[in-house]
Subunit: 380 residues, 2 copies
């Protein structure tokens, strides 16, 4: 129940132990088509350029940023969480100038601020984090953000690492040009092959670059030869991870993407209800609550790390501490993919209550009220 990797479904683990074929074997090439189709389904897109990048989520992030941002381009990035900072570092390494749209950690971007930043800086690329893993905040108003960007002829990159497959995201309907994700969050797949989608306009900009992207490994104009219609050799794909991603995406399709979003809201909603009834406070306001990542405020007088260690030692249960501005201030509790099940929420709530009580501080939580609120929310 940490911020990822989430628990992997047995079918996906089984897929990981499939014997290998070559990365140019006809059977693998067919599988590539299937994975691309399933990724399109999860992203809610028709984009041709929808592929797994051969690395973990930060690799798909750098594939997005490093290919779109050309030397001298300006990229607008948010300051409201850890991953905006990572975008910034990647954009600078790509030779870009970085400008900011500000919001405090724990709050989403305000479209008015985004519009102001566009008027002031006229950026070429705008990046935002749809689901901020560091703060547990969901960015609302995505269509409003993309329309501001498009009025200014900028391309939009969305970080959907902690939303894809768990929280409503619609690449085409919301007019997002590029979106990337990781497999080990709401898709519950081992990390190693990471979703990326680009629409035609974004891919044209990549293919029209005068200077190649600064990473050969992540150069999408070269990857186009492998994942496009040629299927020609670029690098050896992480074959087993692609097997696993296929199986994880099949589970998404079998459940139905909208049903899967609803399950995350339902199960994480019970987690949230339980946490609040226990007397703890969520970090994000209700309107920006991110079901897949629940940032819970650490009560005064409690050592966040001691609770985390206690849960791991006593209950074999992982949750994480805060990052950056929220270090020491929150616990981050994931509710993602195969982990988003009622029994996990129940186990988490009772264990967390015990862990806080065990700190022997003046703080105590009402475990019974938490369990009752959870059961009510689950309709049990």
């Amino acid at each position: 129940m940490g911020p990822g990797p989430s628990d992997v479904h047995p079918r996906v683990l089984r897929a990981m132990s499939t014997p290998l074929v070559g990365h140019l074997d006809p059977s693998f090439v067919e599988m590539m088509d299937e994975v691309q189709d399933l990724l399109r389904y999860a992203f809610r897109t028709e984009n041709k350029w929808t592929i797994p990048v051969s690395g973990t989520g930060s690799a798909s992030m750098e594939a997005a940023v490093g290919n779109l941002v050309r030397p001298g381009d300006t990229m607008l990035v948010p300051t409201n969480g850890y991953f905006g900072g990572r975008m910034e570092s990647m954009a600078e390494r790509a030779g870009g100038e970085v400008v900011h749209v500000d919001a405090p950690w724990g709050e989403p971007l305000d479209p008015a601020d985004v519009a102001d930043a566009f008027d002031e800086h006229q950026p070429d690329v705008f990046g935002f984090v749809h689901a901020e893993t560091s703060t547990g905040v969901l960015q609302p108003d995505v269509p409003e953000l993309t329309s501001i960007a498009h009025e200014h002829d900028a391309l939009v990159v969305a970080d959907t690492v902690t939303s894809l497959g768990g929280v409503e995201f619609r690449a085409d309907e919301w007019d997002v040009d590029v979106a990337y994700s990781g497999p080990q969050k709401c898709l519950s797949c081992p990390p190693g092959a990471s979703p990326l989608t680009l629409n035609d306009e974004a891919m044209s900009r990549v293919l029209d670059r005068e200077e190649p992207a600064r990473s050969w490994y992540l150069d999408l104009s070269l990857l186009e030869g492998y994942w496009g219609s040629d299927r020609s050799y670029h690098h050896t794909a992480p074959i087993t991870n692609v097997y696993a991603l296929r199986e994880a995406l099949r589970l998404v399709a079998e459940e139905g993407i909208e049903e899967r979003w609803a399950r995350h809201r339902h199960v994480a909603g019970a987690l949230k209800a339980g946490v609040e009834a226990m007397g703890l406070e969520m970090n994000a306001a209700d309107e920006f609550w991110l079901p897949s990542l629940n940032a819970v405020r650490v009560p005064d007088g409690i050592d966040d790390g001691a609770v985390i260690d206690y849960l791991l030692d006593r209950y074999d249960l992982e949750i994480a501490g805060g990052l950056g501005d929220l270090s020491g201030a929150v616990w981050r509790i994931g509710c993602m993919g195969h982990s988003a099940r009622p029994k996990n929420v129940s186990y988490l709530l009772s264990s967390l209550a015990d862990a806080i009580d065990a700190q022997d501080a003046s703080v105590s939580v009402d475990a019974d009220a938490g369990m009752e609120a959870m059961q009510t929310a689950l309709g049990e």
Copy 2:
């Protein structure tokens, strides 16, 4: 029996289906130590900076080249195969100037030519390919090459993608500063986490860079925080691939690295003897023969692709065609790791003989002589 991925040992496949823990879980952190120790054993090095890079072999290659080469640096790269060209592209993207040491495809570098290139260009970094997967050529004289480079205060990067764990390579004794590899060749591990080692001098150059490396994902000064003593978060490691790599490296240690090199020579030697007795010709001269990758000349009148397809269709057996300058001229037959077993060589030789005969060309091969020579070489 293609140029990789090779067959994965059942123990390694089993490791791939181990349930995940977090990338900062104490049990995983312990495993990281073990993997680093086992990698040192395989590379024959004491280098502290010995890690699996989170990607396939080209990612460890770009981690090496992209971190060592600073804007304005000059890198000397070879022209005698496909992978020198890839080094060149990576060095240029890192902002480096590239100069060449020439040798034809299918021949190794001559130390005299390397010395001349150093005198002429005074490069900062020298890259060479220890085992050229595109030509089946093993680079001899490594200590001579590294000593030329060090006399000129340059750092040496070795591509050991197709040698690590299968063909003699000694990072420390041969004074190689940086070496990288892939897991899916002689280590017989699914691709996704790729070996890299740097000595202190190379790592100092990386840590002293004025301008950061151009890839965030592959920035070794940042990875230092995760794989070094801090174990602090950089990106989510491909956990399952690290499990698998540990198991594959344990198999190397159980067999013994020198015994493993000997097995590759022995088994691939039988393959070579069989191929030659059948009347086919190896592409590399005997002194430069690479046991792990056997490039066999396609006889005149035979369509290389038809034979490859026939083997896959009829025998479920993968071999590959030539790349670049050797496209259409050779078949590339791997004999790597778990695939380097007598029964595979026997199956390969009889299948290949049948495939060539089936082409109904004027070319015929002596299958019986091939099998006999193979058995003699195996001591059967």
